[in-house]
């Protein structure tokens, strides 16, 4: 198992280099270092000298990928790509283009992101799995039919509608919770209730349909028929046998998401004024801050790789037949 994990971690290196290269290329296709300097220095009274100075201070005055004027390995290392990418692999994110420490920002903003993402994830999982089990139990009945119709309707609605509608009803009309904002400590609960509720509700449609399909597939298998033939109650069949055997496809979708919870939600954080990593990324994109964008994409890639690895490891826990070599 350990050898497998180590091998997978080594595989991650070329993937991360590739992701970094792709991010770099995409970013600099759209933005030049001059654009970045102008964005930071403002529009008014910016002289060409100020732009050159800004670029030189941040190392953006070098060639992007290949330095023709350098010799030897420096042709590749004395470039913007190498200088901006190499430190990422030791998780040194450096400073944002406005001079602020990215690592500090990430640490500060991780908490609010997790404060929304973790309850949304856990509550959403519980609600959708329960609802899917209920529909599976009442399969081919009116309840199942109307349940699926409800799910299709819910998944057809834009998440923006849930957010704006939720804010309008719960906060504006009923005055039950603040519309937006955030506070630390226990006071955060008041601000998290609505975004968590909306995120859970917005995810019910698609997740329930997915889990219902998995459960129905399991329910048709021989071992379920055997369990029923033994005289087990339907509840025992569903919870003790079907749920456990449906764990592998569920884990495939669920475990990979867990590390990405750190990254936050772009839309929810923006509308609810939550100072998390999602809004940090949006801000950086708007400000053309390459340092932050590459750091966030890098962290996202690392977390995704970790998520996939955890998924593989979790298979061994839920299915004894799976062995990682």
């Amino acid at each position: 198992m350990l050898a497998y994990v180590i091998r997978r971690l080594f595989y991650a290196i070329p993937i991360l280099i590739g992701v970094n290269l792709l991010t770099f290329t995409l970013f600099f296709v759209v933005n030049t270092p001059d654009d970045m300097a102008r964005m930071q220095l403002g529009v008014k009274r910016v002289t060409p000298e100020a732009i050159e100075k800004w670029k030189a201070e941040r190392g953006y005055d070098k060639p992007l990928l290949y330095n023709e004027n350098a010799a030897g390995a420096a042709r590749l290392t004395d470039t913007i790509f190498f200088e901006k990418s190499a430190k990422l692999f030791v998780f040194d994110f450096g400073r944002a283009d406005d001079g602020r420490d990215i690592g500090h920002e990430i640490k500060t903003r991780m908490g609010p992101s997790l404060a929304i993402a973790v309850p949304t994830f856990l509550l959403g999982l519980f609600v959708t799995v329960s609802f899917a089990l209920l529909l599976a139990f009442f399969r081919a009945t009116n309840l199942d039919f109307w349940g699926v119709v409800l799910c299709v309707a819910m998944m057809s609605i834009s998440s923006l509608f849930y957010i704006i509608g939720g804010q309008y009803l719960v906060s504006k009309v009923w005055h039950l919770v603040p519309i937006s904002g955030y506070a630390g400590g226990l006071d955060a609960a008041r601000f998290l209730l609505l975004p968590v509720l909306i995120s859970v509700v917005a995810g019910i449609g698609s997740s329930t349909r997915w889990y219902r399909t998995i459960f129905l597939e399991e329910i048709g298998k021989d071992y379920v028929r055997t369990a029923r033939a033994k005289g087990l109650s339907e509840a025992a069949v569903l919870f003790r046998h079907v749920l456990r055997n449906a764990m592998i496809p569920i884990l495939t979708g669920v475990v990979v998401v867990i590390p990405l919870l750190f990254m936050g939600s772009l839309l929810v954080e923006s509308f609810f004024g939550i100072p998390g990593l999602g809004s940090y990324t949006i801000d950086a994109i708007n400000a053309q801050d390459f340092a932050v964008v590459r750091a966030m994409v890098f962290i996202g890639s690392v977390l995704y790789i970790v998520g996939l690895l955890l998924t593989d490891l979790s298979y061994t826990l839920v299915d004894p037949r799976v062995r990682l070599q």
């Binding site: 759209v30 933005n31 030049t32 654009d35 102008r38 930071q40 220095l41 403002g42 529009v43 008014k44 009274r45 910016v46 002289t47 060409p48 000298e49 100020a50 201070e57 406005d98 001079g99 602020r100 420490d101 500090h104 920002e105 209920l134 139990f137 009442f138 009945t141 309840l143 704006i164 804010q167 309008y168 906060s171 504006k172 009309v173 009923w174 005055h175 039950l176 919770v177 603040p178 519309i179 937006s180 904002g181 955030y182 506070a183 006071d187 008041r190 601000f191 209730l193 109650s233 339907e234 509840a235 923006s270 509308f271 609810f272 004024g273 100072p275 809004s279 940090y280 400000a287 053309q288």
Partner: protein, 727 residues
């Protein structure tokens, strides 16, 4: 027991929300209720709070409450007038010749203008650890090693703070910082043309910085006080002198900006210590000033808080203003000591909908009006006067409007062979001029204002907006090429006039008279997607009326700027906000030597007219008066005739204010307005409670619905289980 467990979540929710006081949706801590606190919001996080770098209005909203340049704008008087802030008086320049002998202002021998500024004694800085001293009188936190900063994450982590008196040296130090090699002052380029020796000073600093780096001390503190700056000196503890090249009367306006606010050497040295920048402990993050407020919480991701500076000397509320100010209650606090508010909380609101709704709930004290909420907030009378809607009036909300010191325009690139004015032969130039004039008539800015700005603007007759010297109201001020004066108001000329001009330009019916080919023009603009389509379609429609075929070359803002910078855009729409209330700040946008394509100046249209340039050189150095007005009139006539811009409109600012806020008068130049404001916190508290009573019946309905939907499922479950059991 089972019933109780079912109700636990609802009970917890009720207890949680009930803990928030009588309103549940208050986003602020309950202990702040009834406090003398102003609540505001910001959309973009400030990039810079260092006064040498900060240049945006968003940043000035914070910095101008903290920093105090020597001058400020009078809060109530119009036209805008400079008055002393920390200075004893508004300085009058003394003119000298090259030998240093005093000469008259009008003398052609004027080589330098000397501004001598005397500041008031006894002004103190806000409490700050950079000023903290130990028992021996030594600065406590000025020789810190990196390890001393372990556990320090903000200025609050320094247990001691101190203050000291503001001196003239602090102003001198800040002017030197304009040239700091590690800082990017947007006005360094401009100021180095005027302040004697600033350019050379920058070179010396650059060398000193390079020497530090070569000595292995990169980013070590560069003590600017060790380097003399020829044109700026402290004369005594409270007086400093600035020497300017030639005449530049607009320099006084710069003295009201934060670029010329004081920065004490101790603070610069404090933040330059090793390890500080890594912890975001910089002057760019923690401003230090003598103003009425100090920044006590800087979390630009969520909120920023200004609190009353305990060392602030107090400043009397103005007792003079416009005649209408008395009726508006703006003199009620005349002579009283400011500031009136203890604390200002700025919350980050990225989206407009939550911001607007929180304003309506009373959680923000003022708000702008987006296009989406315009109809809900504003009603236009038959006479076209704007007022609040009945819904707003019922809440006691009032509307404040003012014409901004800004101009939106549609520019023709002077370097373009078709629409520009740089052709070698006079006949081509004349054709191009008539084409520009025809387009200027066809672009119906009144319609644009009505459709895209909800009527918030007045069509421009020239680049100078109302409220700035040089603007002429009425018939004398209209653009005679585009408008006629009719029934006491300017009327846009008919399209027939535009079509005739187009024909005279060689394009009858929009076709080249020689080749018969349709005339195709190109508009470079930013295109951010479907939201911009109506605006771009409007431009197409305006040109089609002539008829001219318009091709839109939409792109992102960076590419757009690049095209303008290179002079590659044929036509484009842009805008200009005034730095200071002087006509020079608008007229220089047409000054040939400041062409964007040639010199990266602010003349984005690359317009060039020798007569205009000559007049500009005269006008920029003159004091306001009839002589200056006459020259400006002549310059306007040149611009009207040449039509390098289709003068678009001057936007109107609309703001909504709750009834509990007083002493608020829109001021487009002064950014330090928070000290004048007053709030009635008790009234606000009452209104909030009245407007935000929690509506509980939906919770009951949700519970009933959940139970109603769970019951048949439970019943069905049991029935199935029993059926299986019987089988």
């Amino acid at each position: 027991m089972r019933a109780l467990s079912c109700h636990v979540p609802l009970l917890s929710l009720a207890i949680l929300l009930g803990g928030c006081g009588e309103v549940w949706n208050n986003p602020y801590p309950s202990q702040d209720g009834g406090g003398n606190i102003l609540y505001s919001a910001f959309t973009e996080r400030p990039k810079h709070l260092d006064p040498v770098q900060s240049y945006s209005e968003d940043e000035a909203e914070f910095n101008s409450q903290i920093y105090e340049p020597p001058l400020q704008y009078h809060y109530l008087k119009r036209p805008y007038e400079l008055v002393p802030l920390t200075a004893e008086a508004v300085p009058r320049p003394r003119y000298v010749d090259a030998a240093g002998r005093a000469v008259a202002a009008e003398s052609p021998k004027v080589a330098f203008s000397v501004y001598e500024i005397r500041i008031r004694p006894g002004i103190l800085y806000q409490p700050h650890p950079a000023f903290a001293r130990d028992g021996d009188g030594k600065l406590r936190y000025h020789d810190l090693a990196r390890q001393d900063l372990q556990g320090v994450h903000s200025l609050r982590d320094f247990p001691h703070s101190g203050t000291r008196e503001l001196t003239a040296e602090d102003y001198v130090y800040q002017i030197k910082r304009l040239a700091h090699p590690r800082l990017h002052s947007p006005v360094f380029g401009l100021m180095s043309e005027y302040i004697v020796g600033l350019k050379e000073f920058a070179e010396r600093l650059k060398q000193a910085d390079a020497a530090l780096a070569a000595g292995g001390r990169r980013n070590a503190w560069l003590d600017l006080s060790q380097f003399p700056l020829e044109g700026v000196q402290a004369v005594d503890r409270y007086t400093y002198r600035i020497r300017i090249r030639g005449r530049y009367p607009q320099f006084a306006y710069w003295l009201a900006m934060n670029f010329f606010a004081p920065v004490p050497v101790e603070v610069d040295r404090f933040f330059a210590q090793p390890g500080m920048a890594e912890k975001n402990l910089t002057l760019d993050w923690y401003p230090v000033g003598t103003g009425p407020y100090m920044l006590t919480e800087n979390n630009p991701n969520a909120r920023m808080v200004l609190e009353r500076n305990p060392n602030f000397r107090g400043e009397p509320y103005p007792s003079e203003g416009e005649p209408a100010d008395a009726g508006a209650g703006l003199f009620d606090d005349a002579g009283k000591r400011m500031p009136f508010i203890d604390k200002v909380v700025f919350s980050r609101e990225r989206e407009g909908i939550p911001y607007w709704n929180k304003f309506l709930q009373g959680y923000y004290d003022s708000s702008g009006i987006s296009s989406d909420s315009f109809d809900q907030a504003v009603r236009l009378s038959v006479e076209g006067e704007a007022g609040v809607s009945p819904e707003m009036a019922e809440k006691g909300i009032r509307l404040e409007t003012s014409v901004g010191t800004a101009t939106r325009y549609f520019a023709f690139n002077w370097l373009d062979p078709l629409v520009g004015g740089s052709q070698p032969d006079a006949a081509s130039r004349e054709r191009a001029k008539k084409l520009r004039q025809a387009i200027s008539i066809a672009l119906d800015w009144e319609e644009f204002i009505s459709i895209f700005a909800n009527g918030r603007g007045i069509s421009a007759q020239g680049p100078i907006p109302p409220g700035i010297f040089g603007f002429r109201a009425g018939e004398a001020g209209i653009n005679p090429v585009v408008y006629d004066w009719s029934n006491g108001a300017p009327r846009r000329k008919s399209l027939n006039v535009a079509r005739r001009l187009l024909a005279e330009a060689g394009y009858p019916d929009g076709r080249d008279a020689k080749s018969g080919q349709p005339l195709v023009l190109y508009l470079d603009t930013t295109d951010r997607g479907p939201g911009d389509k109506p605006r771009l379609d409007w431009y197409r429609k305006q040109f089609a009326r002539l008829p001219i075929q318009l091709e839109i070359r939409g792109t992102d803002y960076n590419r757009f700027q690049e095209k303008v910078r290179k002079g590659a855009a044929q036509m484009f729409a842009w805008g200009w906000n005034a730095d200071y209330p002087d006509p020079e700040n608008f007229l220089f946008l047409f000054h040939g030597p400041q062409s964007r394509a040639r010199t990266q100046g602010e003349n984005a249209a690359n317009y060039a007219n020798p007569e205009y340039d000559r007049l500009f050189q005269q006008v920029k150095h003159m004091e306001n008066g009839p002589a200056r007005q006459a020259l400006i009139d002549r310059m306007m006539a040149i611009l009207h005739e040449d039509a390098p811009w289709s003068f678009g409109f001057h936007p109107k600012d609309y703001g909504l204010i709750h009834g509990w806020v007083s002493n608020l008068k829109p001021n487009n130049m002064a950014r330090n307005g928070l000290k004048y404001r007053r709030i009635d916190a008790a009234q606000r508290e009452r209104r909030r409670a009245e407007w935000n009573r929690p509506v509980l019946w939906p919770l009951g309905i949700v519970a009933v619905l959940l139970a109603a939907s769970a019951a048949p499922a439970l019943w069905g479950w049991r029935r199935r289980e029993q059926a299986r059991g019987r089988a």
